[in-house]
């Protein structure tokens, strides 16, 4: 899966906008949207919100979790716990990126939020690397990781799988030659 594909999925998330135009309900395959009343918040998918924003047809109301205090809390928790903590949105990274890139003027303290989300992301990726490392070094067959988001899985998937393949090949080449090779590792 490509990151852009994950982003595409994230664009289906619902976000509140305040339109500055008036439009009746629109009927789309994915469901009905609207009616749009100027000045009144309405829920729309992110892709539409961004489109409208780019045409200066609306203001985006940032999701509730996109708030410095809440993110700081999450960051602290993330740093404190060894395991992955639940994230505010399954697409937190993608949404942050999308909204901050296109509608940073509607989001108070956009820069701080960007930093905080990046911090959370870095912490989680570090954890992910760490667990991958212990997974490999302990030669486990399977591992269970909770609360991972799609994007996070994606960033590590191709590399991890390739690596495991590669190591498998190396190991299987090694084993027939000398069965003591493995015992040497332990010594």
């Amino acid at each position: 899966m490509d990151p852009s594909e994950v982003e595409f999925l994230a664009e289906k998330e619902v976000v509140k906008i305040i339109p500055n135009f008036s439009l009746d309900k629109i009927y789309l395959i994915g469901g009905d949207l609207g009616p749009f009343n100027p000045g009144l918040p309405v829920d729309v998918p992110v892709w539409l919100a961004l489109n409208l924003k780019q045409r200066q047809k609306c203001r985006i109301v940032p999701p509730e979790w996109m708030d410095v205090e809440k993110l700081e809390e999450i960051r602290e928790l993330e740093r404190k716990e060894d395991t992955f903590t639940p994230v505010p949105s399954p697409y937190y990274m993608e949404l942050t990126k999308l909204l901050l890139n296109h509608a940073s003027d509607n989001i108070p303290k956009a820069d701080e939020i960007r930093t905080l989300v990046k911090d959370i992301w870095d912490t989680r990726i570090a954890k992910l690397r760490l667990s991958a490392d212990s997974f490999i070094s302990q030669q486990e067959a399977h591992a269970k990781l909770d609360n991972l988001t799609l994007m996070e899985i994606n960033t590590t998937r191709s590399f991890l799988l390739d690596t495991l393949n590669c190591m498998y090949k190396l190991r299987s080449n090694l084993q027939p030659g000398s069965s003591g090779g493995k015992s040497q590792d332990h010594q």
């Binding site: 305040i18 500055n20 135009f21 009144l40 918040p41």
Partner: protein
């Protein structure tokens, strides 16, 4: 000693303030939580000099041209006075200083800080500092002994201590105060004051009294109290002569005592009851300046110490109270302290200091809380105990002193009847208070007008919700506009007049098609615009001369008329103007407001003639306007939304309480718009305040309406609430159509359908509960066609008595309808009232009325084939043909009937029955799924007796069978009645019971060309 209380004026933003005079008494100097020191030449000085000393200023002192301030950067700074140039830093603390004071000569400054320390610093060499350690909590206040020997300090640890400055030791300490952990949580600021000149007495505010301690002996020698003082005293200040002592309390009471006689010589209350936190005597002694925690400055003028006749020789024995009385007073001290705690639990903690970081936020409850506490006499628990304490004191010391007889008696006659409420000021609905630097001047359904008034900029931003109306505008506010309104056509602004300039009304008529999009009008001298509004094609301004001036939107002056009282606010919509004014003086927190509703346009008239506006108890008006559909609406400070009920003689009906939706006690909703269709109350949730700040941009939330009906938890209550809400909120259709506007007919028919369905549900419910009388009452509200449905329901469920009554009712309705018809055309303007009274005469002559019932009676519609053809061919009277009932029906039934007749042949009896009864089943069990409906139907069908079944089916079949043939009306229909007779007798009985009234009903129905149910009911007898 009569004195004059001058009106308060805005000095600083809300929060703790302090005040002092300069040495000459020429200037009043204040500081506030906005970090500014302002130098006022007088109270009327419109352009005080401002010196910024930091983010917040906690305290200031001024002597010898040096201004010392305690700022939030933990320093004590010096500025030159009056130039205001920085002159270095005197000292620093680890947190902010809370109070600073000069000694009498101005050579030293003492500062108390939140880090528990008191520092005494030499003015001319700030390196010479003396630190007084010993308090275990933040320092509340400090004061110098005029002879420079001692220093007294009060602290949050509850103690008041006296220090010997040179030795830096504590001389004595009294546990007088309630403990707290910080200055902002302290009950009182406890500003101590040492008697000037004589230096004999130290005044300590303790609870509601001021205790006097004698120098050297450190014994309590007197207590000053006031019967009216029910709240803790915050600050005290000695007159320069040392004979009088002024005190300011939490509740805004200002008291001046003659210290020797212990008589209260002056008593004034703060005009709004805010906490007094700064108090200073003019060096001449004739004036007191005071500031409150809302940042306002006030002055008491005309105090003259010489006029006091009670001043006696200074050799009062009182000041020589022997030290041996110490023990007695210690006992005395403990008791009030305990009481103080219990009272402290009740009266909310005051935040004299930096209550609020955000300038735009108003402490929501502070004002109301203060006022109520002040007005509430029953709350004054301490008066008795104080008197007691005083009596005790008199007993103890009385032998030594001859006290005037009237010690405890108040000087003036006390009026303890209902207190008049200060009338609420004129305001613009949808605006935040004018003293804010960044404020909303208007937020309505069209857009937002924001006003900025800070150092860099004085500007107005206009923004439209719908950018299609107009692009956003930015105006420089050179005229100082304070009120604004916004409509689809124009922006209307007005500024109050000044000495030189008259009050102006400015209109930006952006929708004008010529190039000149702006006009301005000067009001006559001395007349100020107080409220304004825009309607469609007109603008109105209410002025201080009790006048309402109308303008056309292009700037032509139109009518003007006098208002019956000072205006509170006005609102416009379309051709309607709503004016609210003061009818008189309210008492005990109530406002006495009157309301007028005027209508312009072709029919100019006054709809509401100055009737009282029904506010909640002890509340004021907080929003006034129209719903988007044009129904007048207002909201009071208790959050109750009331809507004008035009069908109930223009009464006001409460439709929502916004406070019910609040989470916290101090949360409010700030309403920006009301919509009836869809039912929405658009408002901004404000956490801990009444108004939203301009930044971050607040988001609009939507609240539902809810009529405060009883027992809305029960099914019955819910349905009743829904029904009446629907009736109330669809009144506007009638109003709009009567005043010639286009209406959304689909919406109207939808609403009517919803109401009738609710009625049917309620009918079914009360049938189930064996409440037949109530069922009939409900049926009275139904339209004629729904009554037929109700009759069926009743007869199916075996309630023949009920069915009989209902059919009488239906007959009556039909007659009324017939009798009414000729009148209807004449009565056009009043039509809406009748239709919506719910009296059941709902089927008025409009085409919409016909449409709406079709959905309710689909089954009947489908079975009545070509009723129009039937009637027209029968050549009924010309009058009936004229009625609009005939027109709109043609296409729909036709298709339906075809569809129906195809199926009829293949349908089983049950299917037919189901088709007919589905609605009733649904009405009974509105939440059933399709399959469940069928199951339920099967169950019911089975319970019917065989006969009933055939009747039920016949009931439906016959008309269908009959339908294809068009029968001349003259021809008797016996042939169709015959099959019924051929059925067995029990069944015919029940039929006849039923069908007799039905005959008449349906005949009348078909006369009107409406969907007639059954041809077979055309009996020869009619």
């Amino acid at each position: 000693m009569p004195c004059e209380r001058k009106p308060m004026r805005y000095g600083h933003s809300e929060g703790h303030t302090d005040v002092c005079f300069d040495d000459t008494g020429k200037y009043i100097v204040t500081c506030g939580s906005d970090g500014d020191v302002r130098i006022w030449e007088s109270l009327d000085d419109d352009d005080p000099k401002s010196i910024n000393v930091g983010e917040k200023a906690y305290s200031l002192a001024l002597k010898n041209g040096k201004l010392v301030t305690a700022a939030s950067n933990n320093t004590v700074q010096i500025h030159t006075f009056p130039e205001g140039d920085p002159d270095g830093i005197l000292t620093r603390f680890t947190t902010n200083a809370t109070h600073i004071t000069y000694n009498s000569s101005g050579s030293r400054v003492a500062a108390g800080s939140s880090d528990f320390m008191v520092k005494v610093v030499e003015m001319y060499d700030s390196s010479q500092q003396k630190t007084l350690r010993g308090h275990t909590a933040p320092i509340l206040s400090v004061t110098f002994d005029p002879k420079d020997e001692f220093l007294a300090s009060a602290s949050c640890d509850g103690s008041v201590a006296v220090w010997k400055i040179e030795e830096q030791t504590q001389v004595t300490s009294w546990p007088l105060l309630q403990k707290s952990n910080d200055v902002i949580n302290a009950k009182s600021l406890c500003r101590l004051a040492w008697q000037p000149k004589a230096a004999k007495l130290l005044a300590v505010p303790v609870e509601t009294t001021v205790q006097l301690y004698q120098r050297d002996s450190w014994a309590q020698v007197g207590t000053l109290s006031d019967d009216l003082g029910t709240q803790a005293i915050n600050v005290v200040a000695w007159s320069p002569c040392g004979k009088f002592l002024a005190a300011g309390s939490i509740g805004g009471l200002l008291t001046v005592w003659d210290v020797e006689s212990k008589l209260c010589v002056e008593r004034q209350t703060h005009e709004k009851g805010y906490t007094v936190c700064g108090l200073a005597w003019h060096p001449s002694g004739g004036q007191i300046a005071y500031t409150d925690t809302e940042g306002c400055l006030g002055v008491l003028d005309g105090l003259s110490s010489s006029s006091s006749s009670s001043s006696t020789t200074t050799s009062s024995t009182m000041t020589k109270a022997p030290a041996s009385y110490d023990d007695l007073f210690d006992d005395d001290d403990d008791r009030p302290l305990d009481e103080g705690i219990s009272e402290g639990a009740r009266s909310p903690a005051k935040n004299p200091g930096d209550e609020d970081d955000d300038d735009d936020l108003i402490p929501a409850t502070g004002r109301a809380r203060n006022r109520s506490a002040f007005l509430d006499d029953e709350n004054s628990l301490d008066t008795g105990s104080l008197k007691q304490g005083l009596d005790k004191f008199v007993d103890d010391v009385g032998s030594a002193i001859v006290l005037p007889a009237a010690v405890a008696a108040p000087l003036r006659p006390v009026y303890d009847g209902p207190m008049p409420t200060p009338p609420q000021k004129a305001f613009q609905p949808g605006s935040t208070p004018a003293h804010l630097m960044h404020r909303f001047m208007m937020w309505n359904s069209v857009g937002i007008v924001r006003g900025y008034n800070d150092d860099q900029d004085n500007a107005i931003d206009v923004e439209f919700h719908d950018t299609a109306v107009h692009h956003a505008m930015h105006l420089t506010n050179s005229l100082g506009h304070t009120v604004a309104d916004l409509s689809q056509e124009a922006v209307l602004l007005a500024c109050p007049g000044t000495d030189e300039l008259a009050s102006k009304l400015q209109c930006l008529h952006f929708s004008s098609w010529d190039t000149n999009k702006e006009w301005m009008v000067d009001l006559p001298k001395g007349e100020d615009v107080q409220a304004l509004c825009l309607g469609q094609g007109w603008a109105a301004a209410a002025t201080s001369a009790l006048m309402l001036r109308l303008f056309s939107i292009g700037g032509m002056q139109r009518e003007l008329f006098s208002l019956p009282g000072p205006v509170v606010c006005i609102a416009g919509h379309g051709e309607q103007l709503l004016v609210v004014y003061h009818r008189g003086t309210g008492f005990d927190g109530e406002q006495a407001l009157g309301v007028q509703l005027l209508q312009f346009g072709q029919k100019r008239r006054q709809v509401i003639h100055g009737e009282p506006l029904p506010l909640s108890r002890k509340s004021h008006l907080s929003w006034l306007g129209f719903t988007a559909e044009g129904t007048p609406c207002f909201i009071d400070s208790e959050g109750v939304v009331r809507l004008l009920n035009r069908s109930l003689g223009n009464m006001w009906t409460p439709v929502c309480n916004t406070r019910d939706n609040c989470k916290g006690k101090s949360d409010h909703y700030w309403v920006v718009g009301v919509h009836e269709n869809p039912q929405q109350l658009r408002c901004i949730p404000c956490k801990g305040s009444r108004y939203p700040p301009t930044l971050p941009r607040p988001a609009v939330a939507v609240l539902p309406f809810k009529l405060p009906l009883c027992q809305t938890t029960t099914e019955k209550g819910q349905m009743e609430e829904q029904y009446w809400r629907s009736v109330l909120l669809h009144n506007h259709y009638g109003f709009l159509s009567s005043s010639g506007y286009e209406i959304d007919e689909e919406g109207q028919s939808q609403a009517q359908k919803e109401q009738q369905e609710l009625l049917m549900k309620m009918f079914a419910l009360s049938c189930k509960l064996e409440r037949e009388f109530r069922s009939v009452e409900l049926a009275e509200l139904m339209t004629q066609n729904v009554v037929t449905l109700a009759i069926r329901y009743a007869s199916r469920s075996g309630r023949m008595a009920l069915a009989q009554r209902l059919s009488d009712l239906a007959l009556e309705k039909a007659n009324q309808l017939q009798g009414e018809e000729p009148q209807e055309e004449e009565e056009e303007p009043l039509q809406y009232t009748r239709r919506n009274t719910g009296s059941g005469l709902g089927r008025s002559g409009s085409a919409g009325g016909q449409n709406r019932v079709t959905n309710v009676l689909d089954s009947m519609m489908s079975s009545s084939k070509k009723p129009t053809a039937l009637l027209s061919s029968s050549g009924s009277t010309g009058k009936l043909n004229k009625t609009p009932f005939l027109k709109p029906l043609a296409p729909r039934p036709k298709t339906k009937v075809q569809h129906n007749s195809v199926y009829v042949r293949h349908k089983s009896g049950f299917q037919l029955w189901l088709e007919d009864n589905r609605r009733i089943i649904l009405a009974d069990n509105p939440d059933l799924e399709e399959t469940d409906v069928i199951k339920e139907a099967i169950g019911r069908f089975r319970t019917l007796s065989a006969d009933d079944r055939s009747v039920a089916v016949l009931d439906i079949l016959i008309p269908v069978r009959q339908a294809p043939t068009t029968i001349p009306r003259s021809k008797p229909l016996k042939s169709f009645v015959l099959p019924i007779h051929s059925l067995n007798s029990t069944h015919t009985q029940s039929m006849s019971q039923l069908s007799l009234p039905l005959h008449l009903h349906h005949v009348s129905n078909s006369f009107h060309g409406g969907p007639s149910l059954c041809g077979f009911l055309f009996d020869p007898c009619t």
